[in-house]
Structure formats: C-alpha cells, structure tokens
C-alpha cells in the first residue's frame, strides 16, 4: 500500500493536531452558545441569560477544563489510561475537605479551597503509596485502592451529612455534582486555580510525554522525575479540588475526555492538554444542558448523568484493554 506521503505498509495518517485543536475551539464556542439558549420554554429573557445561564455555562467551562485536565495529567504521570480524579478517590477526598471546612465554620473561600486541595493531595499520595511496588504502581491496584479510598470518604461524607445536614437538599445535590448555584467568588477563585494549574501542566508537557515512557526512561531523557511528578500531582490535584469545591463530585469527565481527545489530537501532551480542557468544557456544558432539559420541569444533577454515561464507557475501556492482553 503506497500512499501520497510515499510511505508504504499499513499506516495511519497522523491527525493534524493543530487543525483539530482549532476545530475543537470552535466546537466549544458553538456548544457554549447553544447551551445559553437551550431551555424548556422558548427563548430566555435577558435576565435569565445573564444571571442564570451565563454563570452556569462559565462554570461548566471551568469545571470541565479542570476535571479533564486533571484526568489527562493523572493518566500521563501514572501511565494509566484508566486514571481519573473520581476513580482514584481524589474527588471524594476533596468533598470531605470542603465539608470539614464548612463544619469548622471556615467560611473563608481560600480556607475552603485549601482544605479541598489538602484532602485531595493526601488521598492521591496515599493511593499511590499503597499501590506502589518496586517503583511501579500497577494499574489494577491503583484503581482498586482508589475505589476503596472513595468508599471510605463517601462514608465520611454521609456520616457528616446525616448528622449535620439532615434537611438540606442542596447538599445532596452538591454531592451528586451540579453546576447550579455557583457562588461567583468561589467560582472565580476556582477558575484562577484551574487555569493556572492547566498552564503549569501545559508548560510541563514534554516532561509528561517523557514520563509516559517509564520513570527510568524519563530520567535518562534528562527529566528530574521526582520534581516533575510532584509538580504535576499538585497541579492536577489543584484542578480536581477546585472543580469539586465549586461543583461537587462530577465523575467520569476526567476519564472519558482524555481518551476521546487522544483519538482527535494524538497522545502528545502539548496538544492533548489544551484539547482535553476544551473537550471537557464542551462535554460538561452539553451534559449539563441535557441534565436540565431532558425531563422538564425537573433537573437531574449533572454528576448523575455523567456517571450514567461514563460508567459504561469505563467498562468498555477495561474490556478492550483486557482483550488486548494488557491486563
């Protein structure tokens, strides 16, 4: 088989990453625009548009960026295409952080945020440590450890919930993940952290590429492995924690989006990180629009919908890897 590039053999044409990224940016803009005008009753008025829909779309954008960005970085650093802040228990840990801060009466937004980050970081460090044997963290142990940590923190959440928040429906909604009621101040703090962390990870895209080849190999390519890993873990946890602090536990976006984006722009993190951020934003805004319109006049928490769609996809990936003999 000879193609126009003069290369023979079974051969996949590399995706033109730049073109696809531009396309993705346009898609995100279109999706955001649609989401603004999509509603159960006709066209929204100016008030709803500016004070209800716009903040929601913005929040969807930020949280989508944060979750998918965190997922991409976790997957790269752990060389584990099934890693994601939700699966690894980072999101539940951050939730407990947020609730603890609330219970302690710390209503300062920074305190709230740093509690979320602190819990997120300790939990990912813990999961990594228990999974690590001979310098490797096997993917099955990692996922299993994450599920256990997740169950544990979820239990803590429900203990808190039943004692302190008995009557609050909004907390339940928050736990399931929602883009409603985004506090503008918390939203802007989270937004700054998400975008800054994304920038840091993007600047370390080459290190991430190297790390996917194995930690020893990364070192031999000139990467200070431990430093790079620490910075990337902190940045990814910061994104996840910021997302959780403002929108609760929205699962599977961080898992599914990086996968889809690898098909679109390839595995190079210089393209993959921005692509995942945009892809995550589009997916979350779209899912949220569906969550608030499919069963009018009710609204489903968007986290419930992402889990309903994401869980089967996770199983599909798991099965696919098994078939490829990679487990």
């Amino acid at each position: 088989m000879e193609n126009k590039n003069g290369v023979s053999g079974p051969f996949t044409v590399p995706p033109s990453s730049r073109d696809n990224l531009i396309l993705l940016t346009m898609t995100t803009v279109v999706v955001a625009g649609l989401a603004l005008f999509l509603g159960p009753i006709g066209l929204p008025d100016r008030y709803i548009l500016l004070n209800v829909r716009l903040p929601r779309v913005l929040l969807g954008f930020l949280v989508g960026c944060g979750l998918a960005g965190a997922g991409t970085v976790f997957q790269g650093v752990l060389r584990n295409p099934l890693a994601d802040p939700f699966i690894l228990g980072t999101s539940s840990a951050a939730t407990v952080g947020v609730m603890t801060a609330n219970l302690l009466g710390w209503h300062n937004y920074y305190a709230l945020y740093f509690m979320a980050l602190g819990f997120a970081l300790s939990s990912i460090a813990f999961v990594y440590r228990i999974a690590q044997t001979n310098g490797k963290a096997p993917i099955q142990t990692m996922v299993l450890g994450g599920v256990i940590v997740s169950l544990f923190f979820n239990a803590v959440v429900f203990v808190f919930f039943s004692i302190f928040y008995r009557d609050s429906f909004s907390i339940l909604f928050y736990l399931l993940g929602t883009l409603t009621g985004g506090d503008p101040k918390l939203m802007s703090i989270s937004g700054v952290f998400i975008l800054l962390s994304l920038a840091v990870c993007w600047a370390m895209a080459r290190e991430l590429n190297g790390l996917t080849q194995g930690e020893e190999t990364a070192f031999h390519l000139g990467i200070e492995v431990e430093t790079a890993k620490k910075i990337l873990f902190v940045a990814a946890s910061a994104m996840a924690a910021a997302s959780v602090a403002v929108a609760g536990m929205i699962g599977f976006v961080g898992l599914v989006v990086p996968h889809m984006m690898r098909l679109v722009v390839g595995p190079d993190h210089r393209w993959l990180i921005p692509a995942s951020a945009l892809g995550g934003a589009s997916v979350l805004i779209l899912t949220d629009s569906a969550a608030r319109t499919i069963v009018p006049p009710f609204e489903i928490p968007v986290g419930a919908l992402t889990a309903l769609l994401g869980a089967p996809y996770f199983l599909y990936l798991l099965k696919q890897r098994q078939n490829a003999g990679e487990f």
């Binding site: 290369v7 031999h220 200070e224």
Partner: protein, 258 residues
C-alpha cells in the same frame, strides 16, 4: 571517560556489588557479563545514576557523576532501560524526537537542525519507513531499533543497553549488534551493554567485564575473559570454549550431561 573507584552497593544488608574498580576509555565497546544475580544490571544502573553507590566514586569526563543534573547527564549518556511502557500510541517519530529533550529549553520548539538529527537517527536504525506508526504496534525488534534511534537523537558519547537482544530472533539480534558496532566505530560512541548471551558478547565487544557474586572477576579482551576455566568457575556449568570457526573470538559450547 568513565571511571569507577572501589564502588560498592547494597540493598539493605545484602551486598550486591563490592569494590568495583573499572576504567572505561572513550570509544570502547564493553560487555558486562555474569550469571543471574551477579550484579551486572545493578552496575549499569550505578553508571547511569539511577542508583547511588554506597561507597566509592564514579567519574564521568573527570567529574563526579553525582554533580551532573539529569539534563546534563542525558546530553552525554543515553540509556535504554528495561522499563519500557507503550501505554499511549506515540508515533515512532514522536518517540525519537523525545531524544532531543535534554537539548531543548522549556517551551522551545524543535528547530530544523533538531529534526535533521531525528531524521538521521531514523535512517541509521532503518526505522524511517515506520515513522508515523504507533510504537505500540511494532514488533520487539522494531521497538528496540526505535529506542536506539531515540538514544542516537540524544547525541550522547556513551550508549548503555540492558540486554538489547532479549526476546529477539537471531537475525534481529545480529542486526542490533551490527548497528551498535557501527555506532561505536563510525560515530565514536562508547557502548556499554549488559549481556546474557556469551556468544554475542564475545563476537561483538572489545572488552568484557565478568562479574560473579558482586565482584569483578576479570576484565579483558574476549579471549582473556571467555575461557573454559573462568566460565565453568563463575557460571557453574560444564561448558567448553573453543575458537569460533568465523575466526578471532571465542565461542561457548555445551550439551547434555554425560
């Protein structure tokens, strides 16, 4: 170029390497051999700074190895480690371009000169025709050649490999060793390679270092190291060494007991 002075290493209480003193001159082709557990891979990991010696000193270009940052080290030595991951579908050219990492600043893009180096590395290793294929889809022999191409793209003066011929058919083994030999001769690269296979060690290397129970038993030319006596002693196997019919190097023969 590389010098080890009384280097020792232990995992907890267990001494893995004792008192290794070894001089590796520029442009040598050194094979590290020895039975399983003799410490040859550990020695390679010490020389490549993955591990730090418990005692003793290692020098690279007359400077202590510990002084080199990962980046400075990667400009001088390329190592093909045994931990290879191909989880993500990077194309061959992406993988080889990673070899330019130590030469680039953060956010700096590969210049046309960098791409020339990458192109050259792809050609020398005969993987040019695979450049857009995902590395995960290649055969073991092709993968090994791509990894060597990435190492060449680093433009190092030392290239280290840990059993580059394991899992390869004999034709691919010969191709890899001939490639290493031409890198050694034409590109003045120092080659250090850990080998199980005594035949290829004898056929392709200039110098052989024989390790046994963490000690350096003998260093010398293949004729000096691969002898019936020494191999029997260290490997504890009934072998016979005789000059290869292809001439110039020793060959190890063995058969069923009795």
């Amino acid at each position: 170029m590389l010098r080890l002075e009384q280097v020792s290493f232990s995992y907890r209480e267990y001494a893995v390497l004792q008192d290794i003193t070894l001089e590796i001159p520029r442009q040598s082709f050194l094979a590290l051999i020895g039975p399983n557990g003799s410490g040859k891979t550990t020695l390679l990991r010490l020389i490549s700074k993955v591990l730090q010696p418990r005692s003793g000193k290692i020098w690279l270009e007359a400077q202590p190895l510990s002084k080199f940052s990962a980046r400075e080290l990667a400009k001088r030595m390329a190592v093909i480690a045994s931990d290879q991951h191909f989880e993500f579908p990077f194309s061959v050219i992406d993988v080889v371009a990673m070899g330019r990492f130590p030469h680039l600043n953060r956010l700096q893009r590969l210049s046309s000169k960098d791409w020339e180096v990458v192109d050259q590395a792809l050609k020398v290793t005969c993987v040019d025709h695979l450049r857009h294929r995902p590395i995960s889809q290649l055969s073991s022999g092709e993968k090994q050649r791509v990894l060597i191409a990435r190492a060449i793209a680093q433009q190092p003066s030392v290239l280290m490999l840990d059993e580059p011929n394991s899992h390869l058919d004999i034709n691919h083994q010969i191709a890899i060793f001939n490639l290493l030999r031409s890198l050694n001769r034409q590109h003045q690269m120092t080659i250090i390679v850990v080998l199980h296979d005594l035949t290829s060690a004898a056929a392709f290397s200039q110098t052989i270092a024989l390790l046994h129970e963490g000690k350096l038993i003998k260093t010398g030319s293949p004729e000096e190291v691969i002898t019936t006596e020494l191999i029997r002693q260290t490997y504890g196997a009934e072998v016979e060494v005789f000059p290869s019919p292809l001439g110039g190097f020793p060959q190890v023969a063995y058969g069923p007991d009795g």
